[in-house]
């Protein structure tokens, strides 16, 4: 790390119709520094890096890069100057090969220089980012795709690498490998601008952090010296009211799942094997696990998207419902919040009030006699917006126009305000900032307290430790017996999720008995 900044922003402002995305932003990134850009959803992080990468132009303000004025008109200019970027939603073409994808990301002269295939292999070998140039990108895993993006950037010999939420799609193991690569790059003098709202990662990886809120810089710090809590509070600009779980006296069993086996209908899915568990009134059961270990299939079975042969495999308050579809289950007082916000839990192009009709139409009588009552639906949508403090222009706004955190709050509110007997939610705070996550956790705890049984499937262990009464682990389609949260540590859970330790094998055998 040296004192001379490689990139310096001075008073950068960018407005869109109706919004100021960035207001007089100034900060500097040092050479070989891993610099975090922190902020809630909608704080202006993405717009800022798009300007640095030449996708958008600032309205006013100045940027300097390596001591010279810097105003890229196009991403090509940015890359020519030595700025590379790995996008959150990868800018890859599935039906093209790795080789073709990389060629597209290089300038014409750069792509024509030497044997590109050879250079791809050399660079990927040098950084331990194994990629096969001849493979079609469509056949690669998410982690491998990210490697392709990084290799593409490295081939241009970047002086500054921008990473936009790089870990949100990776497994913990892949995150570890990525961090090694980034640290190595930084030690070689390449600066890294790292965008994330995973505070723990920023604390372990980054040298400095600039915090954005509402489009302005509100502070900068050394994240290693801060706690996740203090970082989160800088981001939201208020004291973080982390909800606390109070001990509850569990009531009667509300949701019971017995010997549930299900063959996945996805090509790379995981079959559920003999899954049994129950959730009592007042409890929150957390299901921990690395993505792709049967969570999708479990969710499908619980929602009723895939109905079961034996009704008794799922029982609600003692009534067998395994053979029923989602609508019938909802009418019995179950509510669901699937993982994917846009497309599964909501219709992106429909307004918020229209989206309330999808799941709460029957329970709240939003369409009496089959005729939509706009007044009722709007009122219900308004209640949700008020109860969870959803930031939206109006209930007539399209679902996709909301930021991820706000839409997730709306979806959770829509389900919770129906006062379900059983609520099943997958990844309730995925990609959601700390303030919104705390709000969602609070309403989940309140719901459980009021006597509902809640099941949360999540990869976020912090989340499960915050709200769950009991936690069980899903691995390879097996669900291990749950244990009270107090008796668990992150380490034991982590081991179980990897499915390696002896205890787990024993537990697996025990589960089979």
């Amino acid at each position: 790390m040296t004192d001379a900044p490689i990139l310096k922003l001075q008073g950068v402002t960018k407005t869109f119709p109706g919004v100021i995305a960035n207001d007089n932003v100034s900060f500097a990134v040092g050479e070989g520094e891993i610099h975090a850009l922190l902020g809630e959803n909608g704080a202006g992080k993405s717009t800022l890096v798009k300007m640095i990468y030449g996708v958008q132009k600032p309205d006013s303000g100045e940027m300097t890069f390596r001591g010279k004025p810097y105003a890229p008109a196009r991403p090509f200019d940015a890359r020519a100057e030595g700025v590379g970027m790995v996008f959150q939603h990868f800018s890859l073409f599935e039906t093209l090969t790795v080789h073709e994808n990389i060629a597209l990301g290089l300038s014409k002269a750069e792509a024509a220089r030497g044997d590109l295939r050879r250079r791809i292999i050399d660079v990927s070998a040098a950084y331990g980012l194994k990629v096969d140039p001849a493979r079609l990108v469509g056949t690669l895993s998410v982690g491998e795709r990210q490697r392709v993006e990084i290799v593409r950037c490295l081939l241009t010999g970047p002086k500054l690498l921008i990473m936009d939420e790089p870990t949100s799609v990776l497994t913990p193991q892949e995150v570890g490998v990525l961090f090694q690569t980034l640290r190595r790059l930084a030690s070689e003098g390449c600066s890294i601008l790292y965008i994330s709202h995973k505070l723990e990662e920023i604390r372990s990886l980054c040298d400095r952090a600039t915090v954005l809120r509402g489009g302005r810089v509100v502070g900068s710090c050394d994240p290693g010296q801060e706690t996740t809590r203090s970082l989160a509070e800088m981001m939201i600009g208020a004291t973080l009211n982390t909800p606390r779980r109070e001990p509850v006296e569990p009531g009667a069993i509300r949701l019971q799942v017995a010997e549930l086996s299900l063959t996945s209908d996805e090509q790379f899915g995981v079959d559920l094997e003999n899954v049994s568990f129950n959730v009592r009134a007042g409890e929150i059961l957390g299901v921990a696990g690395v993505a792709g270990n049967g969570q999708t299939e479990l969710m499908e079975a619980l929602i009723g998207e895939r109905t079961l042969r034996f009704p008794r495999q799922i029982q609600l308050d003692g009534v067998p419902i395994g053979h029923e579809g989602p609508k019938a289950r909802r009418s019995r007082g179950m509510c669901f919040a699937p993982e994917e916000r846009l497309g599964h839990a909501s219709v992106p192009g429909m307004s918020l009030w229209e989206n309330t009709l999808l799941s709460a139409g029957a329970s709240n009588d939003l369409a009496p006699g089959g005729i939509i009552s706009i007044a009722n639906a709007s009122r219900f949508a308004g209640e949700i917006v008020g109860a969870l403090n959803v930031k939206t222009a109006s209930v007539r706004s399209a679902a996709r126009s909301l930021s991820g955190g706000n839409l997730q709050k709306f979806i959770m509110g829509r389900e919770i305000l129906q006062n379900p007997k059983v609520l099943i939610a997958s990844q309730p705070t995925w990609g959601v900032d700390a303030g919104a996550a705390a709000a969602i956790h609070r309403v989940l705890l309140e719901l459980a307290k009021s006597g509902a049984a809640v099941l949360i499937i999540s990869q976020d262990l912090d989340e499960l430790f915050t709200i769950s009464t009991r936690i069980s682990v899903i691995a390879g389609g097996h669900l291990f017996a749950s244990q009270p949260t107090e008796e668990l540590t992150v380490e034991t859970l982590g081991l179980a999720m990897g499915g390696r330790s002896k205890e787990i094998r024993a537990a697996r055998e025990a589960a089979h008995v």
Binding site: F76, L104, A111
Partner: protein
């Protein structure tokens, strides 16, 4: 022997306009734009080529006029769908209806007029070889152009950087934009190329095939060309094969009586569409091959802000 030769020559004549229109639409679709207005662009090309040839007496100027008129129709489609973001399907259908109407209007003063025979290549010795000669070396210039065009497009898409960029725009326009390629500009060029090819296909109808101006003379060939692109699963060389196959079916229809086939001509004219449906079903069975073949952004509007 003479009957076989005349049938084969007929197949070439029937296939060439299909090959022109389909290879143009293929390039358009590979860039991510679905232009259902092929029929309209063809018929405008037909009347423009006919009028220009009639006026100037030059088949070259006539063919160029057909291509230019088609490109202009393509540009119109581009303005509507790419710049003004109108719905591609609806705009394509409107373009077809517009083209049919406009061509009929322009063509009023040309009905009943006929042109001299389109000149054919004659290479001494080679063309005089019996049977093979007239078939391979005695066609008109547009036939050779159509084959060269297919070969050229095939090479362009597979082996050039510009072709790769065009495919990228059709595959994932957001990513192409994020990397820094001008998606809208690429699509304008592709749509205009598609229009020019359709126009040439139309020119072939009015200059070679009939050679007369008849209202609605494209008679559904634009739709067959659209079906052909899917039939060929967006691969240029298969377009040529498909064009000759579909052209063959059309000629079979004409000669079915002479050949003593007891099949209703209506059934034969359904065959290209049936074949397309069968091919669609077959390639859709395997999801991977389908996603690999069809451009993923086909028919989806692109706006830089989203």
């Amino acid at each position: 022997m003479d009957l076989v030769l005349s049938i084969l020559l007929g197949v070439v004549v029937a296939a060439t306009p299909l090959a022109f229109a389909a290879i143009g639409e293929l390039v358009t679709e590979r860039s991510g734009v679905l232009n259902l207005g092929v029929e309209g662009m063809m018929i405008i090309g037909a009347i423009a080529a006919f009028a220009a040839t009639y006026g100037t007496g030059s088949y070259i100027i006539g063919s160029l006029a057909g291509a230019l008129a088609g490109a202009a129709m393509g540009a119109l489609f581009g303005v509507l769908t790419l710049s003004l973001m109108s719905n591609q399907v609806a705009t394509g259908l409107a373009l077809t209806l517009f083209g049919l109407g406009l061509s009929a209007l322009i063509g009023q003063s040309y009905s009943g007029v006929s042109l001299p025979r389109f000149p054919q290549v004659h290479i001494p010795i080679l063309t005089d070889i019996p049977f093979v000669g007239p078939l391979l070396f005695g066609q008109d210039g547009l036939v050779y152009l159509s084959i060269a065009l297919v070969a050229g497009v095939s090479w362009f898409l597979a082996s050039t950087r510009a072709g790769l960029i065009l495919r990228a725009a059709g595959e994932n326009h957001d990513a192409a934009h994020a990397i820094g390629y001008p998606v809208i500009g690429i699509r304008y060029l592709a749509v205009m190329f598609g229009g020019a090819c359709a126009g040439l296909g139309g020119a072939y109808l009015s200059l070679v095939q009939t050679p007369l101006w008849v209202e609605n003379m494209s008679a559904g060939r634009g739709w067959i060309a659209l079906a052909l692109v899917v039939f060929a699963s967006w691969k240029p060389t298969r377009v040529l094969g498909g064009a000759y196959l579909f052209g063959g079916v059309a000629i079979l229809q004409l000669h079915s009586q002479a050949l003593g086939l007891r099949v209703d001509p209506q059934i034969l004219s359904m065959l290209p569409y049936l074949a397309t449906i069968v091919v669609l079903v077959v390639i859709s069975r395997d999801r991977m091959t389908m996603t690999l073949n069809a451009p993923a952004c086909l028919g989806r509007a692109f706006h830089a802000s989203s």
